[in-house]
């Protein structure tokens, strides 16, 4: 048994789930790990991997085969996210946005025509999407958004407003934009907006010290006209984008596990080869305590997401359970990344090693898709019945 699978979690996976995991693992080993350190330093998302990821079938992999997707169960989908983030949070973020935040809303709220038009091309990566909910002044409180979509007599809409922290924003061909068609949050609707529409602009957000191998942009809509056929007909109210976020957060809770495993494996290997005071540093109690703590947290996080995945496949999971998993696993991964970096000593600050890159990335993951604090309040509300923020 490998140290990476201390509790033989593999024995709880089906042959197909393991096969999916192994394929994505090898893709990450061969195509992501050799280049990702350089991409990170250069602040470049490796776009050249998009068609390869599409061919492998990771985009929207848990959506039906009828729309060109792989039709996997949610545990297999989670394992894909785990392996991608073992490479880098930026790669996993790309796949999360494409699958859970763009393909999923088209699948869940779109017309049959929209599904047939977009999903197969998004599965191959020919069409790339982004998701616009967060605004410069409305992050944890999306109900307050000021982006508007005014209906015109011919059934089309005019969009005005701005969205911020949009992953894939400058790369995308289409944006799923959430906007108010009236005064309150019940009027929020989703639109599929082509990014070459007149009045649509995307600007790369400069100066990031985290998720450097990822495109993060600001979107501005100035009198952008979208036809009636671009409205997601089944979307309605803030609940719709929140349903998308539940899908994405589910994937994040697996992804963070992958980042933690990468840091732990790196720290473990280093501790066995790095000699100080005439013996490997893994022989010292302080480093053993670090490694034992990391291993314990990883095993707990693994069992948590595996059970959550089984609940999701059974159709009985709740958004609050996803909040717990996202909150725990991302927090666990940020701690492990920092401890791994420390164990690596001075080498740990180099891009040649993964831990500090993961450590910096995970600060974004800790903050996006519902901050750690907001998920704390979601859980507080779930157990007390009292909302701390409404």
């Amino acid at each position: 048994m490998t140290s990476a699978d201390f509790f033989n979690v593999d024995s709880s996976l089906s042959e197909e789930e393991r096969a999916v995991r192994d394929s994505v693992r090898r893709f990450v080993d061969e195509r992501v790990l050799p280049i990702i350190g350089t991409c990170y330093v250069e602040g470049r998302f490796p776009k050249e991997l998009i068609p390869v990821l599409g061919e492998l079938g990771v985009f929207g992999a848990n959506l039906p085969e009828a729309y060109g997707c792989a039709g996997l169960n949610n545990v297999a989908y989670g394992l894909i996210m785990q392996e991608l983030e073992r490479g880098d949070s930026g790669i996993r973020s790309f796949a999360s946005v494409q699958g859970a935040l763009v393909m999923y809303p088209i699948f869940a709220f779109g017309s049959e025509e929209q599904k047939k038009r977009y999903l197969p091309k998004m599965a191959t990566g020919e069409v790339i999407g982004c998701f616009g909910l967060t605004e410069p002044d409305f992050g944890s409180n999306p109900a307050g958004m000021i982006t508007t979509a005014k209906a015109r007599p011919d059934g089309s809409y005019v969009l005005n407003g701005a969205k911020m922290w949009i992953t894939n924003g400058s790369t995308a061909h289409v944006a799923i934009v959430w906007a108010k068609t009236g005064a309150d949050e019940a009027s929020i609707r989703g639109f599929i907006v082509p990014t070459d529409s007149t009045g649509f602009s995307a600007k790369d957000q400069k100066g990031k010290l985290s998720l450097r191998a990822s495109d993060t942009s600001e979107l501005v809509f100035q009198d952008v006209v979208v036809g009636a056929s671009q409205l997601l007909p089944q979307s309605g109210g803030l609940k719709s984008p929140l349903m998308c976020l539940t899908q994405a957060r589910y994937g994040i809770s697996w992804g963070a596990l992958g980042a933690a495993q990468a840091c732990y494996e790196e720290a473990l290997a280093y501790s066995k080869t790095r000699v100080m005071f005439d013996r490997p540093i893994g022989g010292f109690q302080l480093q053993q305590a670090r490694l034992a703590d990391m291993l314990t947290e990883i095993v707990k996080a693994q069992l948590l997401v595996l059970h959550l995945g089984r609940l999701k496949d059974a159709g009985t999971f709740t958004p609050q359970q996803v909040s717990l998993a996202k909150r725990n696993n991302v927090s666990m991964a940020t701690d492990i990344a920092r401890e791994a970096r420390r164990l690596l000593g001075a080498n740990g600050i180099l891009a040649e090693y993964a831990s500090m890159r993961h450590m910096a990335n995970l600060e974004s993951v800790y903050t996006y898709e519902g901050t750690h604090d907001i998920h704390t309040l979601v859980l507080g509300q779930a157990v007390t019945g009292l909302s701390a923020f409404n």
Partner: protein
């Protein structure tokens, strides 16, 4: 073109392989298994030939316990059309017994090409492919590193020590595939799902008597610790002397 590829389930080689209490086999509990590397290149060769010709069938054949079905499905998830599991309690140590069972299955199949990996990385026999060719009376080209099939004939390149040999052969033929012919594709996620629906026929086989018996399996002897005879250029004369008189390599 009808292509058969014979594959073997082997332990993944980058893990420690403990010897079982019986002392004649490895302890397989908790080990990871995969398709033998050379066999994966044979599968890839079969798939590429089929794709190039735009028609044909790639059939995967594997002998062993029910566990080998996982490896057959991997080949199916890469794109092979169907699988045949020759069900036996275990793979016997006598390659001829395995070759006989495979040949009996392959003979009526009407295959134009029968592909093997050059050698199985677990037992390093490298005998089964050539034995099947012998039993079927077919030409056999081993250690193929380049391959071209045209108008019912094949051309292959073999890597020799200090030379490359180009050979021609008629079809049907048996080939064993070496490193360097290709790099096998990753099973796509759709391929993994599709593999579940592809036919996998299970055929119990009665194996002949194995004339080879494994008596003992032991780890290689521990390497003796090295010896430091000095440091810097001052140690060179003594090193040369020991290499001549003790190690006798100079």
């Amino acid at each position: 073109m009808k292509i058969a590829v014979c594959i073997k389930r082997v332990p993944v080689m980058d893990q420690r392989l403990p010897i079982a209490a019986s002392g004649i086999a490895i302890d397989e509990s908790g080990l990871k298994f995969d398709v033998n590397d050379f066999d994966l290149w044979a599968v890839e060769a079969g798939l590429q030939l089929k794709e190039k010709l735009g028609q044909g069938e790639v059939v995967i054949v594997s002998l062993g316990s029910d566990a080998v079905q996982e490896q057959i499905r991997k080949a199916l998830s890469m794109g092979a059309d169907r699988g045949i599991h020759l069900k036996a309690a275990a793979v016997p140590p006598d390659a001829r017994v395995v070759a006989r069972a495979l040949a009996d299955e392959l003979k009526p199949g009407g295959f134009d090409l029968i592909l093997f990996g050059r050698v199985a990385v677990d037992v390093s026999n490298g005998a089964t492919g050539a034995m099947v060719a012998q039993l079927l009376g077919l030409p056999c080209v081993t250690a193929v590193s380049k391959l071209e099939i045209k108008d019912g004939r094949g051309r292959a390149q073999r890597e020799l020590e200090g030379a490359q040999e180009m050979v021609e052969f008629p079809l049907p033929a048996v080939l064993t595939i070496d490193e360097g012919l290709n790099r096998e594709r990753l099973p796509s996620l759709k391929g993994i799902m599709a593999a579940k629906k592809k036919p996998l026929e299970v055929k119990p086989v009665t194996l002949g008597e194995s004339r080879i018996t494994v008596r003992r399996l032991q780890p290689p002897p521990e390497r003796a610790a090295g010896r430091i005879i000095g440091e810097g250029s001052a140690a060179v004369p003594e090193l040369v002397r020991l290499l001549q008189t003790e190690a006798k390599v100079l």
